[in-house]
Amino acid sequence: MYDVIIIGAGVIGAAAARELSRLRLHTAVLEAKADVAMGSSGANSAIVHAGYDAETGTAMARTNVAGNRLYDRWREELAIPFIRNGSLVLAFDDADMATLEKLRMQGVRNGVEGQRILSGAKAREMEPTLSEDIVGALYQPMGGITSPYQAVVALMENAAQNGVQVYLSHPVTGIKQDRNGFRIQTPEGDFHTKLIVNCAGVQADRIARLAGDDSFSIIPRRGEYCLYDKREGADVAHTLFQPPGKMGKGILVTPTVDGNLLTGPTARDIDDRDDTGTTDIGIGEVLIKSARSVPGLNRRGVIRTFAGLRAQASTGDFILGESEAVPGLIHGAGICSPGLSAAPAIGRELADAVRRLLPCEDNPDFDPYREAIPNFRESDWETRERLIREDPRYGRIVCRCETVTEAEIVSALHRPLPARTLDAIKRRTRAGMGRCQGGFCTPRIMEIIERELGIPILEQTKKGGASHMVTGRIKGGRAQ
């Protein structure tokens, strides 16, 4: 019997899990997929917004501004990559300038600090690759960038370290209310809990319905992106937004915390909640529109395209707190943009909601700190030398594009939240994320997984389920 079960291991579920691990509660997380951050949290703009964009008085505005400020603590305590690189909302004409002023005023009302409207010349001085067509910009020094999947891994590792049970590959198939709370059904067995925290992303309305709450629905909105080689990323320092439209914040151009360049997203409402495929039209739109901001972008620098879904709620705002229809069911639902920015504050609000329903003491053993896997690539020469001396596997590069060592991969397989798939290793170490996209290192990593975890290569998957990497042995090999 658990006190709380969180459904969903995206950034909201992970932030909630970590906040709940501060409390003396039996907490568990159920995740349908084979790893954390496999939904919206794994494929988005990776931006920590300043908080001017959401309408004043909404949950979005409140949690965005508060969440933004908490990222410094996440970086310090959890070693989550976070750079406050500042953002520029670009204006291409006078109408856009009026939009910028409206955004600035909204930012003031929302409590955003440091905003400034700049001339086109000043903006180009800050960001020399900007288009000559830009007449002005709204500078947001509080804007930042992070790595969403690394954030989720860090939060969930810290939660696990502090006693939260994480069940991956446990899709929820039914929820029954009983005397003590809920019985959650999964193919792996039933779980009993007093409270449920619904952080199921694009599936959050389905989870709500399984529990008997049909007060909202989720409309998945797909966004397509282009990711560039690191050599293309050096040219842009700030996150560059175009003026927002009805469907979102427009096409942005931003550096990533890893030194790549990211452009996107498109915005298209779709019916299929698993459809993260890219389209010709979508990628074409990203390439054309991003060139409006930075004309010099070289499309030959694209090493990967991807798409993610934003979980837009029918209510138009984040849905936070206890369900009116089902007592004991707490929603962290409808978390579209700026959900990543708001996550630290949403995690706190969800934990507060739990505590109101289930008064409890603090967890005396809670440790807020989580150590990252030592990052060879970003270490100085002295540290690199020490790492190799302590463990020769640091001297063996497996992923040459991203300079990921064998020691880092082995470590990812034995962490509090161990990697079990090729994609999970990628999320934790960046192996396979570089310009060759895993062409050289994947076979090697498969051998390491087999050696370290005893999972035969034949059974290894890219991302769980039926995503097997190979289909059998060659002729004359061992029998299958």
Binding site: I283, I303, R384, G395, K462, K463, V470, I474
Partner: protein
């Protein structure tokens, strides 16, 4: 560990091995090969098919056999090799920073550096195929490693995109292993691989080569289930209405190789945007004095025989550089690819010693002539039977012709259409 060495060779594949032997023959004692893998031989180790060495040894060898001939000689010559040594950085003063599991951090100060890092395959993202991201979409080279080195099948029903040589070789290899290779799609109107590979790997096994076709969508959430194949027009744009859904569990990409020049960029050598490699003179010296390049890191070769040959050229001039016999790089004359020519290598000439120009056609041409010009004067002319981007051509220039080029101050290689 800090050490000095006369010539450091980065890469222990066919280029690095041949360079080491040639440098030793040219009288350089102090040589060091740095190889990132556990074994010498580079990509040849996974190329277990035959066809290597026809030019050099007049016999058909497999990749490992070809590599072995050089590895043995390197061992006999007692040339020091460090395997599992990964170079992370090179500086302008020819300092190399590398790591090794047991030596730790290594700082190597070289008199000359020969870049021989090879190339990598262009991934899916680089060619922007839309659709899902399931397992089963691999580069042909990765599939080759899985099959030949590890003994696993990348799939059972296979579509190959791109008719590069590795894709063609893998079509045959996987057919032998019992897979069904449904088709090879090539966006161009001709194969980018060697003609002999098209015959021996596709035609002999009735594997369809769909020219002017490409993959326009990838289907399947977990494992690949199908691809959409479309015809393209002459501007390589998919033609609406020609889409065909082809069920398959594996898509192999053989859509081009990219010289692996991250280290070269770091020291700021001038690059050729067409080859993706450094700009070099006839001694394969880059714009950084004392830094030479050869093999697939310089331009992608179709035959390893020519890689070895080019490595020997680079090694001889690196030796001359070390021995102070020659100072390349001064007063160079640039060579321009003219009509119908995609690139010429070397891109510049700095001496008058007889040399050979390597070049490739921009398209498939039949008949006509290839001409070498010094200024406006044709100094060499040769009949063409067929010129194709997939097959590298060569033309020899003697001392007199080179003298003419130096005097004219410019050089061009061009293709002249056959007269009607």
């Amino acid at each position: 560990m800090t050490r000095d060495v006369d010539i450091a060779i980065i890469g222990g594949g066919p280029a690095g091995l041949a360079a080491a032997l040639a440098a030793r023959q040219a009288g350089v004692e102090d040589i060091l090969i740095l190889e990132r893998e556990i074994h010498l031989g580079g990509i040849l180790n996974q190329c277990i098919h035959n066809g290597f060495g026809l030019h050099r040894f007049q016999e058909e060898l497999t990749g490992p056999e070809y590599a072995y001939r050089f590895v043995e000689k390197v061992k006999e010559a007692e040339i020091p090799c460090m395997t599992e040594a990964m170079v992370l950085s090179i500086t302008g003063d020819k300092s190399i920073y590398a790591i090794h599991p047991h030596e730790g951090l290594m700082h190597i100060r070289a008199g000359a550096i020969i870049l021989a890092m090879g190339c990598r395959e262009r991934p899916r993202g680089a060619i922007l195929i839309p659709g899902e991201r399931p397992a089963g979409v691999y580069t042909a080279g990765m599939a080759q490693k899985l099959t030949n080195m590890q003994g696993y099948m990348p799939g059972q029903e296979i579509v190959i995109l791109g008719s590069g040589d590795i894709g063609l070789i893998m079509a045959r290899r996987l057919t032998w292993e019992g897979a069904e290779v449904k088709m090879v799609c090539e966006i161009m109107p001709y194969s980018s691989g060697l003609a002999r590979n098209v015959h021996q790997c596709l035609h002999d096994y009735d594997i369809p080569l769909r020219l002017q076709h490409t993959v326009t969508a990838i289907h399947g959430r977990e494992r690949l289930e199908a691809v959409t194949v479309s015809r393209v027009d002459d501007s390589m744009t998919p033609i609406p209405g020609t889409e065909e859904r082809v069920s398959c569990d594996c898509l192999l990409l053989s859509v081009g190789l990219i010289p692996e020049n991250e280290l070269s960029h770091e020291i700021g050598v001038e690059m050729d945007p067409v080859t993706g490699g450094a700009l070099v003179d006839e001694g394969r010296q880059t714009s950084a004095a004392g830094v030479f390049a050869c093999g697939n890191v310089l331009h992608v070769h179709d035959l390893v025989d020519y890689v070895s040959e080019e490595a020997e050229i680079a090694a001889r001039s690196a030796a001359a550089y070390i021995q102070g016999k020659k100072q390349y790089g001064e007063k160079t004359v640039s060579i321009q690819p003219g009509n119908g020519i995609r690139y010429v290598l070397p891109q510049r000439l700095s001496g008058t010693e007889p040399t050979e120009l390597y070049f490739r056609g921009r398209d498939v041409y039949r008949g006509g002539r290839v001409e070498v010009l010094a200024g406006d004067t044709v100094i060499k002319s040769r009949k063409v039977i067929k010129l194709a981007p997939g097959e590298m051509e060569r033309v020899k220039l003697g001392a007199e012709e080179l003298q003419a080029i130096r005097e004219a101050g410019s050089c061009e290689v061009r293709w002249i259409k056959p007269e009607e």
